[in-house]
Every structure is written in structure tokens, then in C-alpha cells.
Amino acid sequence: MSKWLFAVTALLGVSPVVAQNCSADGTVVNSVNHAAIARAHVTVTGKDDSSFVDTDASGKWRIGNLPCGHVNVSAVRPGFIRMPQILSFEAAADSPLRDVKIELTPQAVLAGRVLDDQGDPIQGAQVNFMTTRIINGIRGIQSSNSMITNDLGEYRFSGLAAGKYFVCANGPPGLVANGAPSLGERCYPGPIDGGAAGAMNVSAGYEGRVDFTLSPLPAFHVSGVVSGHPADGTGLVTLTPRRLAARLSGLAAPIHPDGTFVIRGVAPGPYTISARSAQFDDRLMAVAPVDVGNGDVDGIQLRLQAGVVVTGTLKIVSPLGKKPEKPQYSLFLKSSDGTVRPGISGWDDTRTSFSIDDVMPGNYRVEFSPPAPFYLKSATLGGHDMVASEVPIGPGATAIELVISDDGGIIEGDVSVDDAPISGWVVLERNGIPSRNAATDSKGHFRIDALPPGDYQAYAWDDNTKVEYANPEWMKRNGKGVAASVAPGQTAQVKLVRQVAPPE
């Protein structure tokens, strides 16, 4: 479209008329065996409208009267997983889009039965499906889906993408409470404690069967006393399995007026026990690990505590004397035991000192994100660095001192493969620790600002879901970084070659 037409339409305040005489055709095929897929539903989406068509018996499709210009093309078909990336084209009136090949990946399916040790089907058994996934730069195991078996003990997970998986079966939740024996958890191909390396490989289109036989486990009780519990208050003690697969089946019991509690029907295993007062105006809690072996666990002592109030100061270091305009700060106190205290409870008028209420005593790191161009220069408590390591917080803790600055620099660059620009995903490391990530634009360009001055390694990858950027061993083994040095107020330029992240 000419510049003149743009100018006229802008003056008139109307959208330019998009020519409707474009067309596209192509095929939809199975990405594994390349067979044509009939009755796939093809969608071509232009600027304002979408057109649909189903493929014929030979997998072919054609759409006429398309709006010309940028169009996205996608297809769906039951039995195939959704396209991870939609295809994009420029449709021109004099140049029909021909032979657009859409590949759909067949779903994998995993089905099976859950039986008890007598061969009876277990109705209502909980089957958890777990996938290995990169979480914050580390490959971990994450629950992906769960379902309950039917009256034949059957389960079926469909719509699975190729990947590495565990599947675990547990007895029906609540059976223990009814006096029946607890049923032990079983995982395939083995216990998930061994980590992602023990997962099973599921390929595209795989249809497999995993049956489970669950055996009764002895069940025990866990009892103790909660102190610091208001005499007229109510409260609850909860026992949550520390094992990922069983985490949906916690047990709970009330705290009696004398502070005692008994949780019955507990299967052996590692748990986290937590007590919480139900007083709205006085949130008291206690948390402790509990390991149940081959016997009752008595005499647990839990002390309910109100969270402590942590204060802090925020210092702004700006060579130009700037301040964040509309400061929206995001702060988290994170503990390796899983405790997270998000948010700031209150600021003073100048937003230079703050307080955080209800922090459970423990060891914490600070995560703090100031608005760009500011970055967190340091966070200390009693002189200890709270960014790199956990620092104890308890009653009487001194103030957290946060320093933010806008004297950071920028890393800007381009990503290519064989000297051709290409989109990708950029990871920055500083002192061997992951610093920032960003996606490039479609031409491979990226710009990451508000970086603390220092030396960086920059990496470019094809698929961020496969990059263990927080795993130093993995990065050392697979990454080819480019050094970049960031000086205050300066922009460092880098040229990166996009790497293919290796499969697990």
C-alpha cells in the first residue's frame, strides 16, 4: 500500500480497505508419518477476519477471497496436538499462497488400570500424570494432569505431546478416613525421587498402557500439641505429603481446645505438618517436617507464632538524581523450605522505608524488581547479602536495606544462524548466575536494559522450554556464550549465533 494511501486514510480516520482477492491452498499432514490428514479444520486469520475450511480426503485445502496482507494459518484435528507455532505469511493478490504445508503432530495416549492386591479394580483412585519441564531454568518434575479411575479402575490420558513423563497412582482420597487401609503410591517407570532422568520417553503418536497394583499400607496416627493456641479459638493441623505425586491427598484434623491434635490414617512417608489458627485478626501458624515410618508419631510440638514485622529502607542511587516515576515495586521473601512471603505491607509517604507484616521466622532471600531503568543494586540485612543467599529473619531482625540504581547499562544485539537473522531467546549470565532472559523480535534483534554494570555471558537459543539456564553444569556442557561487558549508561553490542537446545 502506498504512503499516499496511508496518509489519506489516516486523515480520514478510517482503516485502509484491505483487498479481499487473495487465496491460499495447501495440505495438512501427519508430522510423523507424513500421511495426509482428512477433515482437519484449517483457519486462516487476516487482520480483521478469519476463514475456515476442512481438508478433503487427500488432506488438501483451499481458501479464496482472503483478505490480502499478513495472514496466520493454523489447523486442528482431534487426535493431534495443537500447533505450537502458527504459520505466518504475506498474502498478495497477484501471488496466491500455494502448497502451504501444515504439519500436525499426533497425540500420545497413556491408559491403564489400577487394581488392588486382590485384583479388584480400584474405583476413584487418583492417577497423576507428571512431566519433566524447565522451571525457572532447572529441569524439574511438575504435575501435568490428574484424573480419577472409573468403576473398572480405568484411566486414560490423551492429548499428550512427546516428552518425558511419570505416571503415579494413589488410593482414593478419603478412604483412610473411612477406616480402610491406605493404599501405597506407585509410580511408573519408577519413583519420581530419582529425578527427571528416570522418566519415560513418550514419542509423538505413542499409545501405551500402564497398569498399577496398589497394596495396602499400614496406617498410623500423628499426634501432638499445638502451643500458643488461643483458648477460645479454632484451628486446623494439616499434613501434606512432601512427595509431589501424592501432594493432592493431604489429611487434616482440628486443634482441640487444649491444643492437642490427632491425625489418623497416615501412610508412611515424608510430610510437612502445619498448624494454623483460624483467628482472622491474629494469623498464627507453625510449620515442621514430619517423617512417618513404621509406627505412630506422637509428641509433636508445634508453636503457633504470629509472623514478625520486618522493616526496610530503600535507597535510590541515580547519577542524574532521578526517581522511579510511578514506583510499583515487586518484592518477595523466599525460603528454600518453600515459604514465600509476597508483597510489601506498607510504605511511608516518601516511599523510602517499608514494612512487611506476617513474616514467619526463617531463612529468606530477597527478590525485588524495581521499574526500569532501575535495577536492584544490593539487598542486605545486617550486612549479609540477601540476593545471593538466605539470611535468618526472626523477632528483632534488623532492617532490610535495598539499594536501587539507574546507572545500569544495556546489552543489545542480533541473533543469526548461518549469518541469516533469526528469532530466538536470549539468556544473560552474570558471575555464572542467570541474570535476565528476553525474546528477540522476528528479525533476531534484542535489547535488554537496566542491567547492573559488570561482565556478562550472552547465549541465544531456539527453544526456551529446553534450556536449563539455571543449571551451571548444563550451561557449561551446552552453552556457547559471548562475553559482553556492561558499563554504567553504556550499551554493549553483541552478535549471537542461535544454538539448538539439545533434547533431554
Partner: protein
């Protein structure tokens, strides 16, 4: 593990004075075969598992009444066994029956034979509700990725299974798809039945319903719902009140637009018939409505008054998809006001706290409690009378001259009914009946009684007339009849 399996019983609670014992069998109610590994419980925490011959045993039970019931996967519990335990006389051969579940499975495909994933298959069971036998939805399951469904745990009964009635997100097109509902023939399902019903669904062409709403105040955000026989649809409302509801299958619908401005409700509603093409140019205007007021009189010979606020009133129209707002009452509960009423035909809905009953509700002499009256701005007051001047019906029930336990149904001529029970000696008493003339009948199982079906009652009931007077007990003698479950 084997040790566990060999254990015939487990008593989970220690008992204070163990004196009695009971033992028996759990059997399949259809085949009379013993059921191993059934779980037998009493009402006080005792638990036993049956052995391979279906036998169970409780020791150390407190004497007196024992309510024993059993459960087993794929079986349905029947009524528990209630027996008397006597010290020194262990009870033998208590038989507990479990009915095997019935199961229906099948596959749902589209007109091309492709599996229809994630569509609902509904179970409609024949049962008596409100005194009329009808098919009611009892359950619904969704098909899996290969179009299969499985409905387990069904008791014996008469069923119809239907697929495709509800809109669902079609996994093929990723859009909402309507199908013409397909139902099975009437299936008489006995206990333990295992059958199948497959469905082939035909897609319905859907249309747009477009229009505009006027009278929307600047500071409110109305909600729009199109209620159709096939389901409900919603859509956003543009800045100029325009709307475009997509994917509507053919059928009768009603557009309802509601908004709240402070405590006022604004409503616009209009019926829409959707055919095979888009419906354009629907126009609605939001109205604030008017207030309808009423007075309440309490007729009580004992001088008892209703303590406010214990009851509420609203107006319901058979032509409106939404009830009026709830009433506002004065401090004495002697008068009320229903706000935001649109012109139309309404009947008064009242919940009355016992022991009071609604003696009458009229508007300009018209009975507004049992039939609709036209209400327009300037409508006269509704006059409500509550009363606690009630009587009771008492008497005895026999079956072939032998006193018998039974369920009792009391009906008046306006369709109201009361239920009670005669004990094992056949005696019953039903209190709180307003003065008037009634028909009373006794049944083995009131759940099967089509008391609102005159033809059924004429065929099956033995009805006794009774006249109730305030403060009086009317004595009658009833004959228990068997209510056919058909």
C-alpha cells in the same frame, strides 16, 4: 498381605460393655451369590470384611438395635438391616443384600463417523416428581478423546440416554458446536445390566442474534444472556448498546438484559425465535420497573404473630425469564413492597414460616397465589392473609386387615399435598393441615405415587375423604396400596 486377606473381621472401636454378637452373609440381590470382600458396618463404627463365602461377623457389640449395612465396589446398597441383639443369644444368618450396579457404555460420533470428544451424555431416569412421573436428568458424563463414555453405578430403572443436547467446545474445530440431540429408546434396565447405546450426532447450523439495547444509564454495565432451549449464551454489549450473539442453534430463546444502579434493577427482555438464518435488528429498552405493594393480615385464634423478618415475597411470571426482586418489609411485617416490577402477568411466591400457612393472596379480588394476575403501574395492593388455625388428620392403616406401616399422602383440590408415615402398628398423625377438604391415601412407597395424575390415582389409589377443621383432629382408616413402579 495374605494375613490381611485372611482376616475375617476388624472391629475398629473398643466398646464399653461388649455383650452381644452377630454374624451373617452379604449376597448379590439378583443371583443370591455370596459377595466376598464386602465391607459391613454398623451405625457405631464397627467394620468387617466378608470372607470368600460372603460371611461376616461382629463380636463385642453393645446389645440392643443393630443397623448393619454393606458396601462393595460395583454394587449398590439397599436398605440396611435393622435387628435386635439380645445378651447371650448371638444373632446368626443376618443377610445383607447388595444390588449389582448397571452400566451403560457407548460411543458418540459425528455424521462423518469421527469421534465427538467432550460432549455430554445425559442419563434421564423415569421417576415421580411433584406427583407426576417424568424423565429427570440424573447424571451426565463426557465422552473421551475417542468418543467413548461409560455410565456406571446405575440402579435398576427406566432410562433414556441422550447425547448432544448441550453446546460444547468441539475438539475438531475448537469452536462451540451445537448438535441435534439424539436419545436412545426407553430402556428398562434391570439390576446388574450391562448394555450399550451409541449415538451419531448431526451438527446444527447456528446463527447470530444481533441488535441493540437502549436506555442504558451511563454508569452501569448490563449483563446480556440469551436463554434458549439448547442452552444459554452471553455476549458483550458495545458502547452504543449493540450486541452480537454468535453460535445460536435454532429454537425458542429469550434475551434478558439486567443491570443494577445502586439498589435499582433495570431489566430488558424479549423473546426471539431463531431459525436457519441470522436474526438482525433486535431492539430492547431497559426499564426500571415500578413498585407493587401489599398488606399482610394474620388470622390466629391463639393470637400468635409472625416474628419479622421470617418470610419473603416475589412475583414470578411464566413469560419472564427472571423473577422480581425480593420484597422489602416494614418493621412489623404487616406490609411489603416488591420493587422494580415490569408490566406483565404474575403470581405471588411466598415462603411462610410454620406453623403459619398462606390462607389467601388476592389482588383486586383475583387469587394471585395460584394463578397469574395482570400487574401494571398503579396496580392495587396485594392482600395476603396468613393463618395458624390448622387441624390434623390421624388414624390407622391396614393391609388386608393387618395393621401396616405406610406412607400417607394428603391432597387438597388445589394441588397442595402433605406427607406423613404410619408406624409398624399402622398409626399415623399429620399435623398442620389448613381447614378444608382433602383426599388421603396410604402406600407402600410414596416415591412411586403419581398423586398429581388423576387417571393414575383412579386406577391405583384407595382414597378416603377427610374434612379438617381448625383445632380438630379428623380420624380416618386407610388401606395400604402398592404403588406400581412403572
Amino acid at each position: 498381605m495374605r494375613l490381611l486377606a485372611a482376616i475375617l473381621f476388624v472391629v475398629t472401636c473398643a466398646r464399653a460393655q461388649p455383650q452381644c454378637a452377630a454374624e451373617g452373609t452379604v449376597v448379590n440381590s439378583v443371583t443370591n451369590a455370596p459377595i466376598p470382600r464386602a465391607r459391613v458396618t454398623d451405625s457405631k463404627d464397627a467394620v468387617a470384611l466378608t470372607d470368600e463365602t460372603g460371611r461376616w461377623r461382629f463380636d463385642h457389640l453393645p446389645c440392643g438395635s443393630l443397623t448393619a449395612s454393606a458396601s462393595r465396589q460395583n454394587f449398590l446398597a439397599l436398605a440396611p438391616q435393622v435387628v435386635q441383639l439380645i445378651a447371650g443369644t448371638p444373632l446368626h444368618d443376618v443377610t445383607i443384600r447388595l444390588a449389582p450396579q448397571s452400566v451403560i457404555t457407548g460411543r458418540v460420533t459425528d455424521d462423518h463417523g469421527d469421534a465427538v470428544q467432550n460432549t455430554l451424555v445425559a442419563v434421564r431416569v423415569s421417576r415421580v416428581s411433584g406427583g407426576v412421573r417424568q424423565f429427570e436428568q440424573a447424571n451426565a458424563v463426557r465422552t473421551n478423546d475417542i468418543g467413548e463414555y461409560r455410565i456406571a453405578g446405575l440402579p435398576a430403572g427406566k432410562y433414556i440416554f441422550c447425547a448432544g443436547a448441550a453446546l460444547h467446545q468441539d475438539m475438531r474445530t475448537q469452536s462451540f458446536q451445537a448438535y441435534r440431540e439424539q436419545c436412545s429408546t426407553l430402556m428398562t434396565v434391570p439390576a446388574g445390566y450391562s448394555g450399550s447405546a451409541d449415538f451419531q450426532l448431526v451438527p446444527l447450523l447456528t446463527s447470530h442474534v444481533r441488535g441493540a439495547i437502549s436506555g442504558i444509564p451511563e454508569d452501569v454495565s448490563p449483563q446480556l444472556v440469551l436463554a434458549c432451549t439448547s442452552g444459554s449464551f452471553s455476549a458483550g454489549i458495545g458502547a452504543n448498546g449493540e450486541f452480537d450473539i454468535a453460535g445460536v442453534p435454532p429454537g425458542a430463546c429469550t434475551i434478558l438484559v439486567t443491570a443494577f444502579q445502586e439498589s435499582d434493577r433495570l431489566v430488558a427482555t424479549q423473546p426471539v425465535e431463531v431459525g436457519s438464518s441470522d436474526v438482525e435488528g433486535v431492539r430492547l429498552h431497559m426499564e426500571r420497573g415500578f413498585n407493587v405493594s401489599g398488606t399482610v393480615r394474620v388470622a390466629s385464634s391463639t393470637g400468635k404473630e409472625i416474628e419479622p423478618p421470617q418470610f419473603s415475597a416475589s412475583l414470578r411470571s411464566s413469560k419472564m425469564p427472571i423473577d422480581s426482586m425480593q420484597s422489602v418489609w416494614n418493621a412489623e411485617s404487616s406490609s411489603f413492597m416488591v420493587p422494580g416490577v415490569l408490566p406483565g402477568d404474575y403470581r405471588l411466591q411466598l415462603n411462610v414460616p410454620p406453623p403459619f400457612y398462606l390462607k389467601s393472596a388476592t389482588m383486586d379480588g383475583h387469587d394471585i397465589a395460584h394463578s397469574e394476575a395482570t400487574i401494571a403501574p398503579g396496580a392495587p395492593q396485594i392482600e395476603v392473609t396468613f393463618s395458624n388455625e390448622v387441624g390434623e388428620i390421624a388414624g390407622s392403616v391396614a393391609d388386608i386387615d393387618v395393621p401396616a406401616a405406610a406412607g400417607i399422602i394428603v391432597q387438597d383440590t388445589s394441588g397442595r399435598h402433605w406427607q406423613g408415615r404410619a408406624d409398624a402398628s399402622g398409626s399415623f398423625k399429620i399435623a398442620g393441615i389448613p381447614p378444608g377438604d382433602y383426599k388421603v391415601s396410604a402406600w407402600d412407597d410414596t416415591a412411586n405415587v403419581e398423586y398429581s395424575n388423576p387417571a393414575w390415582m383412579q386406577l391405583n389409589a384407595k382414597v378416603v375423604s377427610a374434612t379438617v377443621q381448625a383445632g380438630q383432629t379428623t380420624l380416618i382408616t386407610l388401606t395400604r396400596k402398592i404403588a406400581p413402579n412403572e
